[in-house]
């Protein structure tokens, strides 16, 4: 007996084949991992199961009965619930209103509905306050509301799309307990992930997709290890996240950040008295759950945002009062978190994007020498192996990896002294991640001081010489990646004091 059976699913989009005969079989009462690189077709396959897409070919069966979903509501009615990476909650609605939306009684009784939602939450160990508005909740609580939504509709199959990406390690562990409770009731959970450790901890079986096809189905997670998983996902044995051996000696300070405070428009200190230094050739990692001040800190150092107090110096030159361009000319480069929008202009072409930082040096006065500009772009494309169709076409169609190599390459073009890299590998596939990480290591070896802001602990442990943890705008801990454990860093990210963290 199978709870879910996807068989021979094909889904084609203009120019792309997302699923090429993919299959998936999930047993009732199990937690099943779906693994694969970005672009492997995981999300498309899950959207077929959730009724968002109709497959071009192939069958969907639930408990052995063939289904034909034409809209998400059909799948919901058949007992399939999906928790998307970007939550589909209405911030101004209460938890109860969000949960009941789509299956509410004709006249709403606030108190009795809140009671029902509270009881349902309790049954599955989902801690929540039914009467609170969602905008007041943490990411972990919001995710629990999404799961409640599915349970409210009595979902027998729950799809979780990279559910731990927004969670602290403790919240992730709690999610593991919740999925176990649901599986024990006979429900099936499909857990999309990249991360081996959580797959091994939370899941019973795993299916691996590559290039839209299923390359391994229903493996026992006990048979998976890092090398095997990478081999299945990428198709070749590549080492993942091994500690980089660094040969350079950390030199003099190139970036000094002293007592920076940044306020938001409501007067709240989103960066609260942060001081840090980066030496020549050093990679300093900043860990933290999203939204704990990493972004305003990076923006304040790069000059995109005004710090209320504090100073920033690059090679002992105070750049605090300077605008972003002047900071660039003092040797500061910035790869922002939003590679599209802040980093690159997607509707402009590769040449325009490549020269956006230093176009003033190309040509005379108000005129730009586009011959020179084109050769500048061509050299970046060659050096960083960027795959663009034509340099005079808008960037919009490029993959994340190519966009990021163009952005990083452009920022490194003027040989900066300091590079601020915010989430440089987020959303990239395994090869894209490796390419960017290689560039960062190479630059550090050449003496560039790098401030690496990331939510990926593996990456931080692999690349950093020192690791700082931010929580609620402040640096709450400093760790040596060679000796610290994930648990210590995770505890600091969740707000525990560093001393408590090391006691575990």
């Amino acid at each position: 007996m199978t709870a879910v059976e996807l068989d021979g699913i094909w889904k084609r989009f203009p120019g792309v084949i997302a699923n090429a005969g993919a299959s998936l079989t999930v047993a009732p009462g199990s937690v099943h991992a779906v693994l694969g690189e970005n672009g492997a077709g995981k999300t498309t396959l899950m959207n077929v199961l959730a009724g968002v897409y109709r497959p071009d070919e192939g069958t969907v069966r639930l408990d052995g009965v063939e289904q034909s979903f034409s809209k998400p509501a059909d799948a919901i009615a058949a007992g399939v619930g999906m928790v998307y990476q970007e939550f589909r909650l209405i911030p101004t609605f209460t938890v109860t209103e969000n949960v009941a939306l789509g299956s509410a009684p004709a006249v709403l009784s606030k108190s009795s509905m809140e009671k029902q939602v509270g009881e349902l939450a309790e049954r599955f160990g989902l801690h929540t306050e039914p009467g609170r508005e969602v905008w007041q909740l943490s990411m972990g609580e919001r995710q629990r509301v999404e799961i409640l939504k599915a349970l409210w509709r009595n979902a027998q199959v729950l799809i979780l799309d990279e559910p731990t990406a927004v969670l602290t390690p403790n919240e992730a562990a709690e999610l593991g307990r919740i999925t176990a409770t649901m599986a024990a009731e006979g429900r099936s959970i499909i857990f999309i992930s990249h991360k081996l450790d959580e797959v091994k901890t939370f899941c019973d079986e795993a299916t691996v997709l590559r290039g839209g096809k299923t390359v391994a189905s229903s493996l026992s997670v006990d048979d998976l290890d890092a090398g095997r998983m990478a081999e299945l996902m990428v198709g070749e044995a590549t080492a993942v996240s091994q500690r980089r051996v660094r040969t350079t000696v950390v030199g003099e300070r190139v970036l000094d950040v002293d007592n920076i405070i940044v306020h938001d428009i409501h007067g709240r200190a989103v960066v609260n008295d942060v001081s840090l230094v980066v030496g020549r050739g050093e990679i300093v990692g900043i860990a933290g759950v999203a939204g704990n001040g990493q972004r305003p800190l990076a923006d304040a150092i790069a000059g995109l945002r005004q710090a209320s107090t504090g100073t920033v110096s690059v090679t002992h030159t105070d750049i605090t009062g300077m605008d972003a361009r002047t900071r660039n000319s003092h040797g500061l480069a910035y790869v922002p978190e939003d590679r599209i929008g802040v980093g690159l202009a997607p509707r402009m072409n590769a040449i325009d994007n490549a020269i956006m930082r230093n176009y003033r040096t190309l040509g005379d006065g108000p005129l730009i020498d586009f011959g020179q500009a084109e050769s500048r772009a061509a050299s970046l494309i060659e050096r960083y192996n960027i795959k663009v169709g034509r340099v005079d076409q808008p960037l919009a169609g490029l993959s994340g990896g190519n966009l990021q190599r163009l952005l990083v390459g452009r920022e490194l073009d003027d040989e900066p002294v300091v590079l601020i890299a915010a989430q440089p590998t987020r959303g990239l596939d395994v090869q894209g991640v490796k390419a960017i990480q290689d560039i960062l290591v190479e630059q550090a070896s050449d003496g560039v001081g790098i401030l690496l802001i990331s939510e990926d602990l593996e990456e931080l442990f692999a690349l950093s010489d020192r690791l700082l943890v931010m929580h609620e705008g402040a640096v709450v801990g400093e760790f040596d990646p060679d000796t610290a454990t994930r648990q210590e860093v995770g505890a600091a990210m969740a707000g525990a004091h560093a001393s408590e963290g090391s006691a575990h």
């Binding site: 968002v52 911030p91 009941a100 789509g102 299956s103 709403l108 409501h266």
Partner: protein
């Protein structure tokens, strides 16, 4: 001296029953139109066509009053006519996904032109029907509120009832939950099985019907006559009122009475209006009525500023999906 003068003027104004009657009339009119706009905007559809919809409603109501002789029949006909007229905006912006601002402005221009064109012959005709004041027996004899609030016409009570019904439906029923969800996040509502386009069309239609009632009330009560410039910006005040009232039926009512009051007192500063014959009962301050007529908009801007500096992280009071066309995500 000046303060004494202003205090004296205030006393004259506040004891002027005619001022209170005007305040209620303009308040009722603005409330009907703004309530309709609240419903449309709560569903995520900004409709800047209120001015044009009111013009069509005013003209249709006046015409139907002459035809039927009944103000109620005329008001219902006007409401239906404008609900249909509002579907121009519904089809263009909701079904076809065009820009709501452009489509709404077009609806205003179209409505003003259409009403002027179709109503050409009505200009010279006397009103065929008027809403009469309702006497509530002894209540209507209470000094102060008796001759004003407890003597208002039936449409006043209908407007208050519609306000209560709107609040109840929006906040206490499944239909209202769905409507608000569509206005906050159409994709979320769609995923939950709510028909986005249909919900929005219904909201636009009801908004149009309410604007039609407001327009009909103008020509069947407030100024019982028809000419092409009769709406004179009241529709725009109603749009501003929705923001002023933070999209809440209760607050919009307070705003409607406040803005209605501003409209009612405006001319009184200019004309040295006297209460009765006593020379001491005259307003001494002269304020250009244009200044007073700007006040609703100025107050709305003040409220916008105040709303923008609300406590941290709080989402805006405006429906989040307002102005956004919805197309189901299908790559």
């Amino acid at each position: 001296m000046i303060i004494a003068g202003i205090l004296g003027d205030l006393q004259v104004l506040l004891t002027d029953t005619g001022m209170w009657v005007n305040l209620l009339e303009f308040g009722i009119l603005l409330y009907l139109a703004a309530l309709g706009e609240v419903i449309a905007e709560k569903a995520g559809v900004l409709n800047l066509g209120v001015e044009g919809m009111m013009a069509v409603g005013a003209m249709t109501g006046y015409w139907a009053g002459i035809q039927t002789g009944s103000p109620w029949a005329a008001a219902v006909i006007a409401a239906l006519a404008v609900a249909i007229f509002a579907m121009v905006h519904g089809v263009v912006s909701v079904v076809m996904g065009a820009d709501q601002v452009v489509s709404g402005l077009a609806l205003t221009i179209l409505g003003l032109g259409l009403a002027a064109f179709l109503g050409t012959d009505l200009v010279s005709q006397p009103a065929g029907a008027k809403f009469a004041n309702l006497s509530l027996g002894q209540l209507s004899e209470i000094p102060g509120v008796g001759p004003t609030l407890f003597s208002m016409d039936g449409m006043g009570w209908v407007a208050l009832a519609l306000g209560l019904i709107t609040w109840f439906v929006l906040n206490r029923t499944r239909a209202g939950l769905n409507l608000r969800a569509v206005g906050e996040s159409a994709a979320t509502a769609d995923a939950a099985g709510t028909p986005v386009v249909a919900t929005r069309l219904v909201a636009v239609g009801i908004g149009g019907a309410f604007a039609g009632l407001a327009g009909a009330y103008l020509t069947l009560k407030v100024t019982p006559s028809w000419n092409e410039s009769i709406v004179g910006g009241l529709g725009w005040i109603a749009v501003a009122l929705v923001i002023f009232g933070a999209w809440r039926p209760g607050r919009v009512l307070i705003g409607a009475l406040l803005f209605g009051g501003l409209i009612a007192v405006g001319p009184r500063f200019q004309t040295r209006r006297c209460n009765g014959d006593e020379i001491t009962n005259c307003i001494t301050t002269e304020i250009n009525p244009i200044v007073v007529s700007m006040l609703p908009y100025a107050l709305t801007i003040v409220v916008l500023v105040l709303l923008s500096i609300r406590s941290r992280n709080r989402p805006s009071l405006a429906p989040a999906a307002i102005g956004q066309a919805y197309r189901r995500e299908e790559r």
